[in-house]
């Protein structure tokens, strides 16, 4: 049987490490992050308001019914995205977005595109199991 003192010590060390790691992460911004335009931030909130993440992914995280949109802005182009946002598809409903909402969502997707690359084909795999982006 493990003594209480040993249990408290292990738990204490783990909790202290967890809190330290959490605070460090809150303060440590990842490299290459850019400040978004206010309209891109509004677009991000619209993304949540329409629950776009239920079907679409960002960096492979989100839904599976629609494609990953991380780099859609550079790969497909703004006109292509605008057409989808204006009309929907046979699966995606037409949300009857206003022109302002479409522009804000487009700005969010442009900002997202500039944040990094999500294409797994471009990653290199190391012998120790790590990946390089």
């Amino acid at each position: 049987m493990l003594q209480d003192r040993a249990k408290y010590s292990i738990a204490g060390i783990l909790v202290a490490a967890f809190l330290g790691y959490s605070c460090f992460l809150y303060a440590d911004l990842p490299p290459g992050n850019k400040q978004p335009l206010p309209s891109a931030d509004k677009g991000k909130l619209l993304w949540q308001q329409y629950n776009c993440g239920a079907c679409h992914q960002v960096y492979g995280l989100g839904g599976y019914l629609g494609p990953d949109l991380t780099n859609s802005y550079s790969k497909r182009g703004p006109a292509y995205i605008r057409a989808f946002l204006q009309n929907g598809t046979n699966i995606m409903p037409n949300y009857h977005l206003t022109e302002t909402e479409i522009n804000e969502l487009m700005n969010y997707l442009r900002h997202l595109d500039a944040s990094g690359n999500s294409d797994p084909r471009t990653f290199t795999i190391q012998r120790n199991g790590f990946i390089n982006q």
């Binding site: 049987m1 783990l14 990842p30 490299p31 776009c52 084909r121």
Partner: protein, 445 residues
């Protein structure tokens, strides 16, 4: 300690009954979602996928949370041989959670969102959930009273309650512009909170299952053993630091990936333990197989084994780069939520509703139907995931729509096995509730 009412122990059962209703709703919305995969555009104008998905996910998550809470209330009273510190706190907690959940479901049906994955509802509805959780923490601590020389399940429940509160609050840091404005930083914190949050509700459920296992075997000493605490600390270590395996492909700090990869590999110890103790588990199965709860606990053990292999594989970045964003991730999520959490919770419900008799053919049929269907369901998702992984790594992949068209046969298997899986779970629930209706009063301990 509040001893003003004799109806105190009714409320844990209310949590469980509400949880069961949510499980049934979760399965219904899950089938609707599956139909939307198999028949593109199905119910697009009435109940499109961005509504069915959160309805399904939230129903199932609240089934886990509510039923685990009901189980903790019941078992902590059994363990400590005293009533909960305050009935009033339990009642307030029940109504805070109950009303919030009803409002959340109404928001989803009306297409009102604003939150994020798991918690897509408007963020202000999280306030009563946090309050309810604070009440649970107070009630739990005051009931347990002293944490000296307590079994491992008390530690697990405390861990689950505290970490759920922490991670749930942390998952709302995005409301502050500082966290929201940098996409990669924001996603890092979001998945940090989610990864640990899953670990926290696992602690609630696994703690209750550990208590139940000790109760069935009549051997409390295992819950005080060094091995039990070693496994608990490995679980806690992973809860705190392994979450980065969700975001290996996100261009965040390299150290996040390195720490998570190293920590995730400690789960090999858990896998090794299952293999090492396989024979011992099997002899226990033969001894206790007549007990409904035990059969469900054993099924969960097998699903732990299968999902742990999948999880460890996915935690290697070189493998994760193929599986990430594919249905293999869904297979893992469904396998753990249904195969492990739901099987364990059904075992707990069977115990709490006093349903352990032999020869219940409806329950047995449900058990086998659910587990065989889940295997088919799980495999269909893994095969669909392998297909998608091949597509996303191809030099010249066809359009996304074409790939989804190619996956339709797997979606059909996924849908049909999903329906039979729901039928199996409903049969188990029917056998449990049928029994409960015939028991005049099982609320007193």
């Amino acid at each position: 300690m509040d001893s003003s009412t004799s109806k105190q122990s009714v409320y844990p059962v209310y949590f469980i009954r509400f949880g069961i209703i949510l499980l049934a709703l979760g399965m219904l919305f899950g089938i609707l979602g599956g139909l939307q995969y198999a028949v593109p555009g199905f119910l697009k104008e009435v109940l499109s996928f961005e509504r069915t998905r959160p309805l399904h996910v939230s129903s199932v998550l609240f089934w886990i949370i509510l039923t685990a809470t009901g189980a903790i209330f019941t078992y902590v009273q059994e363990h400590s041989q005293r009533r909960m510190y305050s009935t009033i706190l339990i009642k307030i907690q029940f109504y805070l959670l109950g009303i919030s959940i009803l409002l959340i479901m109404a928001c989803y049906l009306a297409g009102m969102f604003g939150g994020r994955e798991y918690w897509e509802y408007p963020p202000y509805l999280s306030v009563p959930i946090v309050l309810a959780w604070v009440l649970l923490l107070i009630n739990f601590i005051r009931t347990v009273d002293s944490f000296r020389n307590q079994p491992v399940y008390i530690w697990m429940w405390l861990t689950g309650i505290v970490f759920f509160l922490f991670t749930f609050t942390e998952s709302y840091l995005w409301v502050l512009p500082y966290f929201r404005k940098h996409i990669v930083h924001d996603m890092t914190i979001q998945w940090k909170s989610y990864g640990s949050m899953v670990g926290s509700w696992n602690q609630l459920v696994y703690g209750a299952a550990t208590y139940l296992m000790c109760k069935i075997s009549g051997n409390q000493s295992t819950a005080f053993s060094k091995k039990a605490f070693a496994l608990y600390f490995i679980g806690l270590f992973n809860l705190m630091f392994n979450w980065g395996h969700h975001i290996y492909t996100l261009p965040t700090h390299a150290y996040v990936r390195q720490i998570s990869y190293a920590v995730s590999m400690t789960e090999l110890l858990l896998l090794g333990r299952i293999i090492w103790e396989w024979k011992q588990s099997l002899s226990a199965v033969l001894k206790f197989r007549h007990i409904a709860s035990y059969r469900l606990l054993f099924a969960a053990d097998i699903w732990v084994f299968l999902n742990l292999i999948l999880a460890i594989g996915m935690s290697v970045p070189a493998i994760n780069v193929y599986t990430h964003g594919t249905h293999i991730t869904v297979a893992h999520a469904m396998g753990t939520t249904i195969g492990i959490n739901t099987m364990l919770l059904l075992a707990i419900v069977a115990d709490i509703l006093k349903h352990q008799q032999q020869g219940n053919s409806v329950g047995k049929t449900g058990f086998w139907l659910a587990n065989i269907s889940l295997l088919l369901f799980w495999v269909s998702l893994i095969v669909a995931g392998i297909w998608k992984a091949h597509w996303q790594m191809s030099a010249n992949p066809p359009a996304f729509g074409s790939m989804m068209q190619q996956l339709r046969p797997f979606f059909m298997v996924f849908l049909i096995s999903g329906i039979t899986l729901a039928a199996g779970i409903l049969l188990i629930l029917f056998s449990l509730l049928k029994k409960e209706l015939h028991v005049t009063s099982n609320q007193d301990f």
